[in-house]
């Protein structure tokens, strides 16, 4: 069920568009390598967490309660859902279903903000009710808040990026053939999802 193809106001850049399309593989490879290096960043901190956790004092350390798995699981579903909606947003863009694209893109942004709200709730609960803080709770607080904080920061940047992409797409920056920004945004959003799978597993499940 096709709706309008490229929105009104799309600018025809002529030859520059051609160059853009032909150099897409450059940008794709570069962006993927950037994600690889970001993976290494997370992996290093994950190594640090696992190393510290293995230090033999039991986990959680004495005086600290287990994390709330149920709530985090619910929050995770929100994030994974946003991954699915992002996928559909890109698919609909590629098939020129602009109306559906808008719906799924906005859904992704809303779900992303929802995840961040869930994290904010978790942080405040931990801090005010459980008295677990970043610097004052030994290696538990250090590892949990550093890793989930880094992840939350990445999600926040991702939400901002998606908002910018959305506004750009509404203004006609992207066309049926020229939409690398949207591809990059989708890849980044899936990356953030995958990192969360790992973090959820190592903090909440084990």
């Amino acid at each position: 069920m096709a709706v309008a193809a490229v929105p009104h106001g799309a600018v025809d850049h002529g030859g520059a568009d051609q160059l853009y399309i032909e150099t897409r593989s450059l940008r794709l490879q570069g962006f993927l390598l950037f994600l690889v290096s970001d993976c290494v960043l997370f992996s290093s901190f994950i190594f640090a967490y696992l190393y510290m956790r293995n230090s033999g004092q039991g986990w959680p350390p004495p005086g600290i309660n287990r994390l709330d798995v149920a709530f985090a699981a619910l929050n995770s579903v929100v994030l994974f859902g946003s991954g699915a909606t992002m996928h559909y947003a890109l698919e609909n863009w590629k098939h020129e279903n602009f109306g559906r694209y808008v719906f799924f893109m906005l859904a992704t942004i809303v779900l992303g903000i929802g995840f961040l709200s869930g994290q904010a709730y978790e942080y405040t609960t931990l801090y005010f009710r459980e008295h677990v803080s970043w610097a004052g709770s030994g290696i538990f607080g250090a590892s949990f808040f550093t890793l989930t904080g880094m992840h939350g920061f990445h999600v926040s940047v991702g939400v901002l990026y998606l908002i910018i992409l959305f506004l750009q797409s509404v203004h006609g920056i992207y066309t049926k053939d020229k939409y690398f920004g949207l591809t990059a945004g989708t890849l980044y959003w899936h990356f953030v999802d995958v990192i969360w799978v790992v973090l959820f597993s190592i903090f909440y499940l084990i």
Binding site: L19, Q29, G30, A48
Partner: protein, 556 residues
């Protein structure tokens, strides 16, 4: 009619309009050649600064009871000397500097994949360097370039500045690594398969993933140190449940690949210089290319050989020892291949060649002492002594720095259109060789006799060889001074070089010196390896490069 041929469209054929104005051409340039020169100039400035720090060290060690600087200042001096040399001199010179200048030309490209990113990568570098040196104003780091906790947790504010500065310069490295990988994967000239790519590019291709991956691991370690120092978040403090050994693991997981970052491009440089001045093909092209990849990969697996005295369980020490030994194999392959390249060749004794041959000899010595250090029983005896200092100065100065010198004499004509002075060059080489060996050879036995490193004073039994080392270091410094005089003099007064003063065969020598901003009028097609001296050049489409035919920058 425009003489611009557009091959296959996209970035290969497209010539941008020439940048206008001094600022866009020379300050905020996106041209890889200008950026590369900027890296080289900045790197050389930091070489001078860090070299002065080295001479403070050697002057302090002229006397067994020190006295030149206070012990606290001395700690700052060697910590900054090491940090600056690794992160502000060797790595930027050899990757951002020579990599940027040479690699795109050698693959027949007009620029790197992401020129704006390249410019940002460069400009981070002097800023981070200034940040690092500013730490002298606030209590510079004192725990060596390795900054082990707990000392690095307890030291003054300069250590946090150090962490921030190195983090920043690491971002520059990571972006450069990404840029180079994509450039070499996607922008080689038509017909240039990987097995027709010059060996300098192979070396950069092996190094770029290290830049990307290893540097990010360091970023994590530095960020954790910074967070602990500034916000009290426990990572490394054992009284709060952290672990100083964890720092060592995280730090060395980067810093071991870092030493391969510092040497692999130099290997590549040597592989270009030796065939040219032997008028012979490089021996074992494929072996040299693949051994670079093997070294890069294996380099990730040996980091704990820096930690043999840190209380690692013996069952862990053993695999690291064995893996470290095995890195000697691909390295040895290169040494044999280079020797076989020279063998029977018609040698032209240019300064560049002298430094390249010197590299092969001195790096081999450093590599051999590396094998000694890989053996756990030996390392337990000499860890933390001057033996280690001797080893790494042989591979980094006798290796990387000599490679940088060789590359400078070789590529200065391409970049400036003028040759460097050969007489001064030869004085530089011989004085440097004598001064360098005099400085660092005795440090092997100083270490074996028990002189620890990072000490501002020492037992009088070590006096003579310390003096020998220090006096020799002044000779070495003088030689480096000659180098800079030569460099500066030759910019204006060097003999005109022409496109190919050395008769080399890689693509960069088939275009004018200095190249036009667009590098090639027409991207050539490549149909063979560049090293077969005596055969016709394996390129098609270079006819217009050395002519005056006009080129019109055009959008599609």
């Amino acid at each position: 009619m425009s003489a611009t041929a557009v091959h296959g469209g996209g970035i290969a054929g497209h010539i941008h309009p020439e940048p206008q104005g001094f600022v866009r051409r020379y300050i905020f340039s996106i041209d890889h050649k200008i950026i590369g020169i900027q890296y080289i100039v900045t790197g050389f400035v930091f070489l001078i600064l860090s070299g002065m720090l080295a001479e403070i060290i050697r002057t302090q060690l002229l006397h067994a009871n020190g006295g030149f600087v206070s012990p606290d200042v001395y700690n700052e001096v060697y910590s900054m000397h090491g940090s600056a040399m690794v992160w502000l001199v060797i790595i930027p010179l050899i990757t951002g500097g020579f990599g940027n200048v040479i690699m795109p030309l050698q693959i027949g490209a007009r620029d790197v994949a992401f020129p704006w990113l390249n410019m940002i990568s460069f400009w981070i570098f002097p800023v981070a360097g200034l940040m690092l040196f500013s730490s002298f104003l606030m209590g510079a780091p004192v725990a060596g370039w390795t900054e082990y906790p707990p000392m690095s947790l307890q030291a003054g504010p300069g250590t946090s500045m150090w962490a921030a500065a190195i983090f920043l310069v690491g971002v520059s490295s990571t972006l450069t690594g990404i840029n180079f990988v994509v450039t070499m994967y996607q922008m080689r000239a038509p017909g240039m398969t990987f097995t027709r790519m010059p060996l300098f590019c192979w070396a950069q291709l092996a190094t770029a993933p290290l830049l990307m991956i290893a540097t990010t691991a360091l970023a994590a370690a530095l960020a954790a140190l910074f967070m602990e120092r500034q916000f009290g978040v426990p990572f490394y403090d054992p009284t709060k449940g952290g672990s100083p050994i964890m720092w060592q693991h995280m730090f060395w997981f980067y810093s071991h690949p870092a030493v391969y970052i510092m040497i692999l491009p130099a290997f590549g440089m040597i592989s270009e210089i030796l065939p040219t001045f032997s008028r012979k093909p490089i021996f074992g092209y494929k072996m040299i290319a693949f051994s670079s990849m093997a070294i890069a990969l294996a380099g990730f697996m040996v980091w704990a050989h820096h930690m043999f005295t840190s209380g690692l369980a013996p069952y862990l020490q053993l695999p690291f020892m064995i893996l470290t030994f095995t890195i000697a194999i691909p390295t040895g392959v290169k040494i044999f291949s280079w020797t076989a390249t020279l063998w029977g060749g018609k040698i032209q004794y240019t300064t560049s060649l002298l430094f390249a041959v010197g590299f092969v000899g001195l790096f081999t010595l450093g590599g051999i002492t590396g094998i000694f250090l890989a053996a756990v029983p030996f390392d337990l005896h000499v860890h933390g002594t001057y033996f280690v200092v001797a080893h790494f100065h042989y591979v980094l100065v006798g290796g990387s720095l000599m490679g940088i010198f060789a590359g400078t004499y070789y590529y200065f004509p391409k970049m400036s259109g003028r040759l460097m002075n050969e007489t001064l060059g030869k004085w530089h080489f011989w004085l440097f060789l004598i001064g360098f060996n005099g400085t660092f050879l005795p440090q092997h036995w100083l270490g074996m006799l028990g002189m620890p490193r990072r000490v501002p004073e020492y037992d009088p039994q070590f006096q003579f060889w310390n003096d020998f080392s220090s006096i020799s270091s002044y000779v070495m410094t003088f030689a480096i001074l000659l180098f800079f005089i030569n460099l500066l003099w030759s910019i204006r007064n060097g003999k005109k070089a022409g496109p190919n003063p050395w008769g080399a065969r890689t693509l960069e020598w088939q275009i004018p010196s200095p190249p036009h901003y667009y590098n090639f009028k027409n991207i050539p097609t490549v149909h063979g390896l560049p090293y077969n001296f005596g055969q016709p050049l394996p390129y098609k489409g270079l006819e217009e490069e050395l002519t005056d035919s006009p080129v019109h920058a055009g959008a599609h």
